[in-house]
Amino acid sequence: MGADYGVHRIAAAPIDWKTIREDFPILREQAHGHPLIYFDSAATSQKPRAVIEALRNFYEHENANVHRGLHTLSSRATEAYESARQRVADYIGAMSPDEIVFTRGTTESINLVAQAWGGKFIREGDVILLTVMEHHSNLVPWQLLAERTGARLRFVPVRDDGTLDLEQLSSLLTPEVKLFAFTHISNSLGTINPVAELCQKAHAIGALTLVDAAQSAGHMPVDVRELGCDFLAFSGHKMCGPTGIGVLYGRAEILDSMPPWHGGGEMIVSVTLERSMFKKAPHRFEAGTPSIGDAIGLAVAIDYIEQIGRAAIFEHDSQLARYAAERLGELPGTRVFGPTEERGALVGFMMDAAHPHDLTTFADQYGLAMRGGHHCNQPLMRRFGVSGTTRASFYFYNTMEEIDRMIEILHAAVRFFSPKEGRSPVRPSS
């Protein structure tokens, strides 16, 4: 074990990972006549029965709009929705549920900060520090902000081994830097960034920090006070929850200093024809009817994850990822991206035998779901001189046997896509 990522809690009893698979109805599906091997959890995770049933239960027994009605169902819905906020706060170690804004997902959370916080506090000449490994969702909102305000973007480079070039950090963290926004785990490389250290260094020069926890929130212990970040963004659907719900954590005093970003119902105290008074955070940032059922579903997903334990999940997932990286390295003409020691629950790779899209099309015919392409990481792909990679990403419902099967399928792909002796049609080259 290399760096300390705060993963030191030991699960109470050995976990039967095979039984856990039975909690996920979709894992019984077949694709093209083969048992499904779902290696695309970095894009979205599958949902346990508990979450699916929670959604059903909400719509059958509690559905009403929140915060406005005086009737029984509205009270139930409001209570369930606000309990979900408390559950999320506890899950990430926030001081109070007032620090939890429900959004549609990581992307919306980051856009909220860029527009509401950035719009008020960022001026011409200010710098937003990012890294070359950011997902487009933690890049494009800042490009838009820079365009509006005349601020500049600056980037921490990525080394060949897929880690951030931290030696450059001190020269990049100058007093013009107002925010350092970076990912916790790279969605293409699997790199786990030393968040606490990065936050400390940013704070030392007076910059705020935003952590994109999309790939970490459901995979490892994430505690905002241990990490010391000012903002943290993540999505429910990558951690067993429904789509359409995400979280922005913001330190209370910072959220309170931010103006609203969307206007409408639910976020106001009083409205005249000329002007409005806004609620405090977090409601100030939740205009309109929120995704009530999905927030409740997320809380159930959190309960489910906590029952297994994030430390155990992290251990299981990184074992899978290390094993996959090792086995992929045995394949002919295969380049594995990202750090070799510690990595998040995914492996990106390239095979000489076939382009990522051909490879994923081929694998799909055998029931193996992977992703081929730039993974919303175009600048990072350019950095490594490729247009895309194939990515296998894992979660606690995946097994070593599935990885063995992936390797078999990839061996078959090498045979399939390589020139066959004597079968190659002879055509004049023109």
Binding site: A354, T361, G373, F417, K420
Partner: protein, 154 residues
Amino acid sequence: MIPEIEELYQEVILDHSRRPRNFGELPDAAVRVHGDNPACGDEIHLAVKFDPNDGLEDIKFTGRGCAISQASASLMTMKLKGKSRAEVMEMLRAFHDLVTNDTSEAPKNLGDLRVMQGVRKFPQRVKCAMLPWRAVEQALEQGAGEATVSTEPV
């Protein structure tokens, strides 16, 4: 072996993707089109030279991408050399039909291009197959100079 995947990646297609024909520069081209498929990063640089009657005297490409896009470009350039503008547009329509319409008979005039018929079973790969055709369409529209085209509307 699985028939659909064998049909998609016929040996002719794999051969064209490994050894693409008409791959290279065309120094005296009248028009150059850069085409890309942002969803997956396929790229093609197509160069076209017209004859005095506005037909396609020569056509070459460079680029990188999946087997489908590269083979499609290779096969397309072989087919289109020497064709008139009207013939190219007619083939573009016929080829689009070939790779998208599950019920249509492959038209005979497409000749070798008919090996691409397997794409119709893989709707996610239609853009890969169409990329070089979008580029040639743009080249005809533009007539001269440089242009770009994308499989995604921008």
